[in-house]
Amino acid sequence: MQYYLLIPFLPLAAFVINITLGKKIIRKQAHWPSTLAVLGSLVVAVMVLMDVLAGKTLNEDLYTWIISDKFQVSVGFLLDQLTAVMLIVVTSVSFLVHVYSIGYMHDDPGYYRFYAYLSLFTFSMLMLVMANNFLQLYFGWEAVGLCSYLLIGFWYEKKSASDAGKKAFIVNRFGDFGFGLGVIMIFLTFGTLHYIPVFGDAGKFLNESVNILGLEVNLITLIALLLFCGAVGKSAQIPLHVWLPDAMEGPTPVSALIHAATMVTAGVFMVARCNPIFSLSPTAMGVVAVVGGVTALFAATIALVQNDIKRVVAYSTISQLGYMFLACGVGAYAAGIFHLYTHAYFKALLFLCAGSVMHAMGGELDMQKMGGLKKYMPVTYWTMLIASLSISGIPGLAGFFSKDEILFRAYAAGGVGKFAWLLGTVAALLTAFYSFRLIFLTFHGEFRGTEEQRHHLHESPKVMTIPLLILCVGAIASGWVGIPPLLGGGEHFSEFLAPVVGHPHGEATHAEEWMTMGISVAVALAGIIVAVVFYLKNPSIPVNLAKRFQFAYRVLWNKYYVDELYDLIIVRPTLFVAKNIIVGFTDGAIIEGIVNGLPRMVNRIGAQVRKVQNGLLQHYGAIMALGLFLILAILMIKYSG
């Protein structure tokens, strides 16, 4: 199975080619190396999937960089069911985004740079999901973060873009700090960083606890929560969700690939990968479930009132990621990964459609200035409609199966699960509503933009619409591999993943399963109907509502003032400390004192010592002799005494 190495290294090769030759030689052909590489990765990923389906899994260290007693830095790969699913998701979406970008980015001056970063991202993400140890996971984790930063700030001349890049990076730092600590704790506890021994031994430390500031904390719970910190940052869960909406400053294909389909799901993947650790700690599981459920609802409410087309989709992403964590938190890891997989297609589709709209509108993002685009861009309209139906959970489409699975598992798990189910169901209602609000505002009604924009309206070129159509197939059919037995399916997806993540706990009757399914379909339809009433039949209702509940509207419009709150309690104090204490005192007096003073001292010593080196042969000889006699004298004294 050595051929699997092509999967990460083809994109790496493309990155190297584009970054070295892109500027001068390849230029407008930069898409070729990157796209072909990721296509190659996709083909090999399919082969790997076949092998895994045939029961062949693999765990090997490819090479070890340094060994220091127990500490081992190695590059190794673990190919199992979970990895196979992730590989397919990453390579397929990445490939389609590469193709789409040929049209979307075609006249950008940084064309080669864009493809180079895209390849680097694909490489890093693949290294992340293929890792067989925590260190490599961490490496991939940081590398995708770096790519995300580079791509959000791709148009770095724009201040908002470079600010958004910085914000994403800094917010992620908070989560990654915890994640890093978690990895260190794992090493200290287990003496290794490889998945298999760590997961195998996790049970042995079940009752160990550590003392933190006088507080006894269960060791496994601590590790799980620290790891989850990383997931919260990367997957934009409350309270570290603030970076993702701003990340929409990046090019739209990047939003589709990195900030919807792949990188942001790394947190979910990591939790599922570490399920042997998480499952041992009910506390950590509860935290995961509640954070996921609350985020799902919270982000959905914000999405209700936003007018920026990409931001609506961004909040929808946060909300859907919440669902995935919700699933993991109730032990239904397979359901979480299932949703990750279907979500990748319909959410990438939503973003690329949004990109297509922006392309037609000359970069316009405000939905209030759109409307009636249906007749100008039919392909975009229909594909986006299907994606919206899918995310709303209309039976038969991909989103239905995965979302239904999550809600049912949450309900069946009982306890916290029931609460999470309630949150999820309400969020489902909102999801259907805001998704169709987006459709209606954008594609229906009268065009509300300028005359010039109207003149410019056109369907996007084939190179962009064909990826949309392919993703559309995914948004419809990707769920069919996980049809529940209740509807005559075989639950193939969760059976496939069972060797890695196990079976979910909790039992429920068929009646209850019918009930949860019925409710989720009902709320989806309700959401769509409300959207129809509000935005097609009677557009005055939302306006009146906003006036009536001005306070609520303002809170939602301002995203619960979270950014403002962080600004007040974190950013400002930090800047204050940075300016007045660090720059003024620590930096000026202490650090600069050391940094400048030490070399100055060394320099001064050097200038003195240097005088000995005067070029005179007899002096050199004398110094040698002096050294010799000195050593001799010391030894002689030592032995005579």
């Binding site: 960089w65 340094i66 050097g606 080196q613 070029g615 050199y620 030894l635």
Partner: protein, 469 residues
């Protein structure tokens, strides 16, 4: 007559014969590059007979074992790379003579003998052959006063150190009645005497001179600066490694019973060397001289491997020298590239804005500077990592800390070169580069090896461990 007894020394015999052939070729060949190519082919021929050479010869005076073979490969790399960077350079310096290559081969032969010697007299023979050849090479640019000065200084101080070495050997012989390194230990039976103190000190000083340990390093900056740059590169790796081979062999076999004593001396010298090398390197504005001090400092690090001792320490030291060969010659190769007609290209000022005018040269220099500093993922990091790890493992954690502190200081002058290349604007006329295929090849080899050793060091580490046995 049993011809098989010469098998262990066959590589040396082949080298000697081919060096003679090269000397004769010089008389008949006018295109001197051809001779350089022949020198490289000679290395290939010698490498070919090495695998069959394992064993001991001349009643245990000479041995071909894993340890010596590992060092011989360092010498070969040193020779090949030095030849590659010399070809164009000699033309620019108007010193194209074929003897140059045969002297390099004789010097390498001397190093090989040093690495294989299990008798102090053989060791001395090898050392003298190496030293006499390098004296001439240091003064090879005959019309350059500084080159002459370098040769003369090197010769006088070298003679001084040879005398000291001989005196040390005499003491050992007086005590034990043998000069066989392996037999010394059993003859001494761990008894400390005044003569032995003298012997140990003299040997440390003599090897310390070749390795350039402070305070016996005084010749190094002047000689390295004055000598032809290609020879500076050659001298800063080969003879140093050869002296390390001898130091390791003599002290960790023959004088192992007195380890606490010589270890104390070496620790003191190591710290002093790191201090002198790094602190004085900061003062330099001439790149060649800076690299001279840097090579002093690196010797200080490598000695830590001998101090730590054991298979781990010695293999760390061998690895370090192996890695050092590539990164150091690589750095000198870049310096040579800047040497064109009329421009010395040795001053830090010449590197101002190099990233703008010659981005590739700047990137290469950046890689070598990073590696010399010890920044991952370059080979220099791996070398230092295992060296310091060996020190910690042997209970000298504090020494490792001292070495790390000096590594941090060294970042100052290595990265200053990087700063000049990348953060300063080029001034005046963009500097020309003297590129050539052999030089390009040398840079390619060194760059690739520095990266490969940084990213995938395990096979090389395993090789060194295997060599120790």
């Amino acid at each position: 007559m049993d011809i098989t007894i010469i098998k262990p020394i066959l590589p040396e015999i082949v080298m000697a014969a081919l060096a003679c052939v090269v000397l004769i070729l010089e008389l008949f060949i006018h295109k001197k590059e051809t001779i350089g190519v022949f020198a490289i082919l000679a290395v290939a021929a010698v490498s070919y007979v090495i695998p069959q050479s394992f064993g001991s010869a001349f009643n245990g005076m000479f041995i071909s074992d894993g340890y010596s073979v590992f060092f011989k490969f360092i010498f070969f790399i040193n020779l090949i790379l030095a030849v590659l960077i010399s070809i164009r350079y000699l033309k620019i310096e108007r010193s194209e003579f074929g003897e140059y290559y045969s002297l390099m081969m004789f010097a390498t032969l001397g190093m090989m003998i040093m690495a294989s010697a299990t008798d102090l007299i053989v060791l001395y023979l090898g050392l003298e052959l190496m030293a006499l050849s390098t004296y001439i090479l240091a003064g090879f640019i005959r019309h350059d006063r500084r080159s002459n000065e370098a040769a003369l200084k090197y010769f006088f101080l070298g003679a001084f150190s040879s005398a000291i070495l001989l005196y040390g050997i005499t003491m050992i012989y007086a005590l034990t009645g043998t000069t066989n390194i392996l037999a010394i230990a059993s003859q001494l039976q761990g008894k400390m005497t005044t003569q032995l103190i003298l012997a140990i000190v003299f040997l440390v000083v003599a090897f310390g001179f070749k390795i350039a340990l402070a305070p016996f390093h005084m010749w190094t900056p002047d000689v390295y600066e004055g000598a032809p740059t290609s020879i500076t590169a050659f001298m800063s790796v080969g003879p140093k490694a050869a002296a390390f081979a001898a130091l390791g062999r003599v002290f960790t076999t023959g004088l192992i019973d007195f380890a606490p004593d010589w270890r104390g001396i070496l620790i003191a010298l190591s710290i002093l060397t790191m201090a002198v090398g790094n602190i004085l390197a900061i003062q330099q504005s001439n790149i060649k001289r800076m690299l001279a001090y840097s090579s002093i400092a690196h010797a200080g690090y490598a000695v830590i491997g001998v101090i730590a001792g054991g298979a781990e320490g010695l293999s760390a030291m061998m690895n370090y020298l192996f890695i050092y060969a590539f990164m150091n010659i690589g750095a000198f190769a870049v310096v040579i590239m800047l040497r064109v007609e009329g421009v010395k290209g040795e001053e830090l000022e010449h590197y101002r804005g190099l990233a703008k005018t010659h981005p590739l040269a700047a990137v290469l220099m950046l890689i070598f500077m990073f590696s010399l500093t010890g920044i991952p993922p370059t080979g220099g990091f791996i070398g230092k990592f295992y060296l310091f790890k060996a020190a910690v493992g042997a209970g000298y954690a504090w020494l490792a800390v001292v070495a790390v502190v000096f590594s941090v200081i060294s970042a100052y002058f290595y990265l200053r070169v990087v700063m000049y290349m990348y953060m300063h604007e080029p001034e005046g006329e963009p500097a020309a580069l003297a590129t050539s295929t052999p030089l390009g090849l040398a840079l390619l080899i060194t760059t690739i090896m520095v990266i490969v050793l940084g990213v995938y060091p395990s096979p090389f580490l395993a090789f060194a461990r295997l060599a120790i046995g």
